[in-house]
Amino acid sequence: MNRFFEIFFVIWSWLSALCLVGAVAAILGFLCVKGFPALNVELIFGNTEPLSALLLQKQVFDGLFPAIVGTLCLVVLSVLLAVPLGVAAGIYMAEYAVGYVKTCCDFLFDILAGIPSIVIGLFGFTLAVFLHKNFSDQVYPCFLISSISLAFLVLPYIVRSTQISLEEIDPAIRNTALALGASRLQNIIHVLLPRALGGICSGVILAIGRCAEDTAVIMLTGAVAIAGIPRSILGQYEALPFYIFYISSQYADQAELMRGYGASLILIMLCTLLFLVAFLVRKRIAYQAFYKA
């Protein structure tokens, strides 16, 4: 009986893993088959000279270039906003918060993690309207509002990953520097954070993915179909996921739909690129923290 159960369990695990890999392969394969033919210089830069577009000398009107730049900037700004806040909150939760306060914050972060992105988008929109009415009529839903909203969206990932990876650290390691007379803060900076870096990095990668793909938030807070390269953080902008949504809901002919597939492929490649950058940054910081401190 036991033997049978074990065999069954192993087969079941295998099948589950296979399903997962299969699903990912199917999606990627589908995108590649559909997207690769559409992928060319013209899709990205339209009729504009690529070099002068890259140097921002000429505007691109009929290519994906502004959307790519928009998404890239959006991800970078949102993550830059979310990481310091999230890591600090995670450190607080793991190292300083106790008792009632900790339980409360735990609960609140869980709620924050559960808020649907459309609601956060709505919040961003309301914020923009509020600022527009009460402070300056120059403020509209814009790049900055989107970034702030997205930062909120991904904050729980970063807080949690920081907190969990700090809490997981072996007590023996936790006490090493303290026993040498390091202060609590020195212990956190010199020993605990470098140890937790791997976990924090996975949180940041999750956050990058989420920022890059989220459509609901940016739809309500300033992404538009045509805006050109983002020139100011108070202006509207283009973004890849919004473009994909837009084109797939209102395409006029097959060629336009193909551009949507191309855009999806570009979005995935962009994410991969950002993940790579995150890993490299992590390696660099770990090296600095461990061997140069």
Partner: protein, 294 residues
């Protein structure tokens, strides 16, 4: 000539009068202090402990301990598992502060300074009372940086040359210099277990402590590495006081001058190591030493 501890309840609360709550009083009644056999005190002590109680939450882990640590001695703490040796050791450099539920009362002094006084900063205290753990735990940094870490955070050196000097003398004292001098920039985690433990000892002595606490420093090491550490402890005694917790009675006999026997939170017997092992006076000590339990 037996010095016995005063178990007068009024006396115990003399130092920290505000912590006398009911649960403590109850504990004292339920868990009556066993008098320490032998003389736990010395002349010109480095550290003194009087009326020390330690609680984890409501549970008492150390019951009215009083003992001295002399200068240039190795004092061994032995006893069955869970009797509070590590707990007591951690009181001596206030590492118990890091355990949330832990509460220490009583009077512990180093060179006459009360280490639990309100205005005492644990940072310099832990430089004076260093600690070596059971499992070798070097930082994932180079050998050099491991040893240099303490002096750097305590600002013991003005420039690189001085740090170099400290690193070299510490590694020499820890008997690791010959093996490590050509690989100072390689990670400390790449050393063997015994070498790592000597690296940890070097790291602890780099901040010039007066007392070194060792909690079962050899229990993760093979016999050859253990012999090296024991030899090292004997040498270090010339410069430091060493308090060592060990499960090996042979080890206690080999390295220590005095031995304290702990039992369920009490210090049962303290005396010269040779006397404890050849002629224990308390029945519990004798039972433990002759291997009847533990």
């Amino acid at each position: 000539m037996e010095a016995t501890l005063n178990i007068n309840n009024d006396n115990v609360t003399g130092i920290n009068s505000e912590v006398t709550d009911l649960s403590q009083e109850k504990d004292k009644v339920l868990h009556k202090k066993r008098e320490t056999v032998g003389n736990p005190f010395v002349e010109n002590p480095r550290m003194t402990c009087r009326d020390v109680f330690v609680y984890y939450g409501d549970k008492m882990a150390i019951n009215n301990a009083g003992i001295d640590v002399a200068c240039n001695e190795v004092i061994a703490m032995i006893g069955p598992s869970g009797c509070g040796k590590s707990t007591f050791l951690r009181c001596l450099n206030r590492m118990n502060d890091t355990v949330e539920s832990c509460r220490v009362t009583g009077d512990i002094r180093i060179d006459g300074m009360d280490i639990y006084a309100k205005n005492v900063d644990v940072v310099p205290l832990r430089a004076r009372v260093g600690m070596v753990f059971q499992k070798p735990n070097p930082f994932p940094k180079s050998i050099y940086d491991n040893v240099a870490y303490g002096p750097k955070i305590h600002g013991l050196a003005q420039n690189k040359a001085e740090i170099d000097e400290i690193v070299e003398t510490s590694l020499k004292k820890a008997g690791l210099w010959e093996e490590a001098k050509d690989r100072l920039n390689q990670p400390g985690t790449g050393l063997s277990g015994g070498q790592q433990q000597r690296l940890c000892i070097a790291r602890a002595i780099a901040v010039s402590p007066e007392v070194i606490l060792m909690d079962e420093p050899c229990s993760a090491l093979d016999p050859i590495a253990t012999a090296k550490i024991e030899g090292l402890i004997a040498e270090l005694r010339q410069h430091y006081s060493i308090v060592i917790v060990t499960h090996s009675m042979q080890q206690a006999a080999r390295v220590s001058q005095r031995t304290a026997y702990f039992h369920l939170g009490d210090i049962i017997e303290v005396g010269p190591t040779e006397r404890i092992f050849t002629n224990p006076r308390h029945q519990l000590t004798e039972d433990y030493i002759t291997g009847r339990f533990g």
